[in-house]
Amino acid sequence: MADRDSILNAIRQSLTTTHLPEAQATLPPRPASVPGLDSGALADSFAREASALGVVVHRPQTQAQAVETVLKILHESEPDEVLTWSDDDLPLPHLNDFLRAENFDPLDPLVPVDPIARQKKLAELARAEIGVTGALAGLADTGALVVNTSPARSRLASLLPPVHVALLSVRSLYPTMAAFFAAHPDSVREASNLVFITGPSSTGDIEFTLTVGVHGPKTVHGVLVP
């Protein structure tokens, strides 16, 4: 703890001679939140923003249609391996059963602790060509998918496969990130990982030429589940 105390003491000492323009004892009150948009407007805004970022947005009318949409996406590429979240964590009941019925057998996403077993499992999971996950929420202003982690919510499902299918309930849309945090104040604290995803992975590092599918998925489908 020696360094903790010495660093904190050095800070305290410096604060007696510091010059910090605009520093106030308390921050001004938070700006008033955006007036409640109805869910239709939120969905439209989300769809617009996400599409602009290269997310393929699907707006099925019913849950049955949503299932069809997912199956159609899978049949487009006929993946040998898929990764999914458990049914409890998806807004479509029994989706995994539907997948198995079409001969898509999700891999077991559980990564063991033992280092050798871990590497073996990671290599196996890397073979998945499509990952199907839910999303805790969607943000209408930026088209962001909010994806958290839990025992049955594999992080790698939305990360390793080149295609990511995200199932988002239309009731889980928020106008802004601040609104989402206000509505779900413990969501971050309660998950080891929560990520805001705005489209397929990309880079412009080579002469600004935008390339997608760098280390993360190349294609992201956002299915707005009624």
Binding site: I7, I11, A25, A126, R155, G213, P217
Partner: protein, 474 residues
Amino acid sequence: MQSNLTFHERVEDALQNQTLHLALDRATGRFTSLRANAFASFADNGDAIRDRARMIRAHTLSRLDTYLAQFADAVEAAGGHVHWASTAEAANTVVIQIAKQNNVRSIVKGKSMVTEETHLNHALESAGLTVIESDLGEYIIQLAGETPSHIIAPAIHKTKEQIGQLLHEKIGMPLTDEPSKMTAAARAKLRDVFLNADMGISGVNFGVAETGTICLVENEGNGRLTTTAPRIHLAMMGIERLVPTLHDLSVMLQVLARSATGQKLSVYTNLITGPRRADADGPDQLHVVLVDNGRSRVLGTEVAEILYCIRCGACLNACPVYQQIGGHAYGGVYTGPVGAVLTPALYGIDLWSELPHASSLCGACREVCPVRIDIPRMLLQLRDEGHRAGKTPGWLKLGLPFYRLAATTPWVFHLGAWLARTATRLLAAQGWLTKLPPPLSGWTASRDFPAFAPRSFSAQFKRRKNHKGTAFTK
């Protein structure tokens, strides 16, 4: 590592480098317009949100001890380990210790300025560990054995032809100059690295004190993979990179990506709170290394405001000096306007006295900074410090007493003006001089200098007034 060349030599190199010039033009121009468009989406061009972002940073730093302690406690409550490093060496030592204790041999890294600052890679390699950079731009320059020239786009100084050649030579990629093919080659190569590394090292864009959360912002997905696949995640963080709450974080995120790349939000904004719980995947251990390395000392000075910086790179893109000389000329890890303040602040004006002078004080940096840092004010502050430390060039030191005398004693001023008028008018050809003597010869290297006017303004004003029949000088 400080280059062996002097500042002026590095500047010369940069100014002669046509390829660099093209790359800088392209990059800074593009980032500047992307940023402008992104802020135009706010009704007030982002004024209010930038004001608030500034207040958040100022408030946080004014209570940094409290928030840092709160953050560290919250990280530990979530199952992470916190290590406090006063110096760069201490930080590197801690990382090596953690690696050794956990039988780590291979490490994959995400982009992190603070790890460049401590020269972590070099320390790890000296300790027998392999370190691979996973951010595409950083990976490229690692293969090239160079240092980053821009905070956001580290390989901005390289053309696609150069990169294609490099990847062909170093990883056996079939020769191409198509970025998509190069990216695919790097993806395949790095996928193996991610999945087999024992430890992933990342930086931290913001630490959130109330939850002990590390926020990591990126576009490629390498940050996610670095912090998910390996069994150990180590995050290195400068002690000043905090915000108090998640709401504050949401404000900072609104200005960060817009300022850096013109995006409303980066592709991935990761919020990591502790290591894996009963989760399907994720690292088993999380270590956060808090790095001071002079920050606590800078906090106590007139240039503490530089600690507001959120490392967006907007000031680099806006700076007409950076646009000409690029990053390497600055000689350190932090380049551009922020580097011109931070480097002398952290490492002392003694070694870095030229940097604050490599600026015309145009203020473009302050204009684009998401937290409105007044860099020109601090450059002037550092110039004052440098002058008092005796760093002013000899000719200027000699000239200052004369300048002072002339400017405070009108008859001396007018005598000096008369002398200069006589000399310039004698030496001028058709009213212009093409060569001025040292130390002013720098002027005439590329510009002509006009002869002084035949009659001064004050003389003409007096004559004009007398001619018009009213006397005005008092």
